[in-house]
């Protein structure tokens, strides 16, 4: 940790998420933290990443906080406008997208996601936005990374609704299901980075100041811990934090 540098949990999440982006990735980003992660990566270690919005905006570079991907502020600086069929069809279903950055209400140990509805213990259902392009991204991107805050209720062995498939569904692999790509490779939260692989979930790193045992206890899915314990996630740099605060989330909606 750099002396005197402090950050919020949201900022830590944005930075850790951004590190999952590789330079050259062609990326479809969801609204909110996924978008902040993508833009942060592009302005730091991944200058040639391509960011695409399912609504039909290529490589936007917004200067204001946007209320969603349907907010024209979000499209500012785009070099090309097209259609959903162009982004989710030609780019994604056409196997040209290397990375999807996705949020979720619930995730299971294989990285399958629920963004549709939550059922409370009393059976009350609460509905959310549904798939949008989320299922399509999970189905066709070469890999996906899940970006979410770390709350135990968000980790579930059985999802209330499986909106977007992960590495396995009902014991079946992606090729068996007919899906392309590796599927989710990591869940990045505001406490840890959980790697997803062929054999399941592993606690790859915990963020500075986090206790690994406490993180494991707060993650009610099967979760392997490396023999030597998890690594520590690199701390945010001043440059990353300045970018987030001044440019990428100035209203602090996602990282405040």
């Amino acid at each position: 940790m750099t002396p005197g540098v402090t950050w919020t949990r949201g900022e830590m999440l944005a930075v850790a998420g951004s590190l999952q982006v590789r330079d050259g990735d062609v990326t479809v980003v969801g609204l909110g933290l996924p978008q902040v992660c993508g833009f942060l990566a592009r302005r730091t270690h991944a200058p040639s990443v391509r960011l695409l919005l399912e609504i039909g905006a290529f490589e936007p570079d917004p200067t204001e906080s946007a209320m969603g991907i349907a907010d024209p502020r979000m499209w500012e600086g785009s070099t090309a406008f097209g259609s959903l069929l162009e982004v989710l069809g030609v780019m994604l279903h056409g196997q040209r997208v290397s990375l999807g950055l996705l949020g979720a209400l619930e995730v299971d140990q294989w990285g399958s996601l629920n963004t549709t509805e939550i059922v409370a213990e009393d059976g009350t259902r609460r509905r959310f936005r549904g798939s949008g392009g989320g299922n399509d991204i999970s189905s066709s991107a070469e890999r996906t990374v899940i970006i979410m805050t770390h709350q135990p209720r968000k980790f579930a062995s059985t999802l209330a609704f499986l909106t977007s498939p992960g590495r396995r569904v009902d014991g079946r692999s992606r090729p068996e299901l007919g899906l392309t790509g590796e599927g989710p490779t990591a869940i990045v939260t505001d406490r840890a980075v959980i790697a997803l692989g062929a054999s399941g979930a592993t606690l790859e790193s915990v963020h500075p100041g986090e206790d690994p045992d406490a993180v494991v206890a707060a993650t009610p899915i099967p979760l392997a811990v490396p023999a030597g314990g998890p690594a520590e996630t690199p701390s945010p740099t001043r440059f990353q934090l300045d970018l987030i605060r001044s440019r990428l989330d100035p209203k602090r909606w996602y990282t405040g």
Binding site: E54, G56, S83, N135, T180
Partner: protein, 285 residues
């Protein structure tokens, strides 16, 4: 220059021609380019038992659902972005008065695209292995299949051809040639899938004023051209006006208090106004 047919029509006359039970396709996306003037007029006219198809639901659909006008909604998801969820849709779905048929955004767009192109069916890998495939499969709209060329699993979907599509464009000439700037999401496929298409235009321009290379919707598929300046308010139209965040938040807050809240909103802002112009005057003042 061929002048073509004059397809202009008032919103009132257009809505008068839409019967109860019509399958409507709408093309707004959350807080952008919703056909709000059209939704108000339909609600005031008391239309019922509509089927609505929309790739990403927004305010227009939520108003119709809140008014009890929609029996079935086929969508790929929806919200009012950070303002909040589609309370009208969600309450009607949870209450059982509205059947919600969910797809992924791409899968539904592909069904519309197949309808537009007259394809017998269309195949995708989207939705494989997810719970999204269940309802459409039960309804016979989607079937598990396989690629005859390599044996890989896929889903085979029927084409979708709604009765009427209503889309909000920047400008149209009287024949129907229309232009859209900015991202177009599922507007092109929605417009082309429907058996009949109305373009609601911010502005009516002279035939020839739109560069033919910039025409996004050719007159040949347009049945009605409806002038409606600011007709997407309080949602945004790129290059024309921003969304009205305060009004959207008021709508979401009304919905958060339950069906009575939405009923009160409709009473005040829709049933309680004689026209969309009156609504605009009251809302923007």
């Amino acid at each position: 220059m061929t002048v073509g047919l004059d397809r202009r029509c008032s919103m009132g006359d257009f809505v008068a021609g839409i019967a109860d039970g019509t399958h409507l396709a709408l093309a707004g996306f959350a807080i952008s380019r919703n056909a709000v003037a059209f939704a108000h007029e339909l609600v005031r006219a008391g239309r019922r038992h509509l089927t609505v198809t929309q790739v990403i639901g927004g305010l227009e659909t939520d108003l119709l659902a809140a008014a009890g006008a929609v029996d079935t909604l086929t969508y790929g998801g929806g919200s009012l972005d950070r303002y909040g969820p589609l309370h009208g849709v969600n309450q009607a779905a949870l209450g059982g008065s509205l059947t919600l048929v969910e797809y992924s955004a791409l899968a539904l767009t592909l069904r519309l695209h197949a309808g537009a192109l007259g394809l017998p069916f269309i195949a995708t890998r989207s939705m494989l292995g997810s719970d999204l495939a269940s309802a459409p499969t039960d309804r016979g709209e989607v079937r598990a299949g396989e690629n005859p060329f390599d044996g890989a699993p896929c889903l085979i979907m029927s084409p979708l051809r709604p009765d009427v599509a209503v889309v909000h464009v920047d400008a149209a000439d009287k024949a129907g040639n229309a232009a859209i700037t900015g991202p177009t999401w599922s507007i092109p496929e929605t417009a082309r899938a429907a058996r009949s298409l109305a373009v609601v235009a911010e502005e009516i321009v002279k035939v020839g004023d739109i560069d033919p290379s910039n025409v996004d919707i050719p007159a040949a598929i347009v049945d009605a051209v409806i002038p409606a300046p600011r007709g997407a308010y309080p949602t945004a139209v790129y290059g024309h006006y921003d969304y009205d965040g305060a009004h959207l938040q008021m709508y979401v807050d009304a919905g958060a208090s339950g069906p009575a809240g939405l009923a009160a909103y409709l009473e005040r802002w829709v049933y309680g106004t004689a026209s969309f112009d009156e609504y605009l005057l009251r809302a923007v003042a």
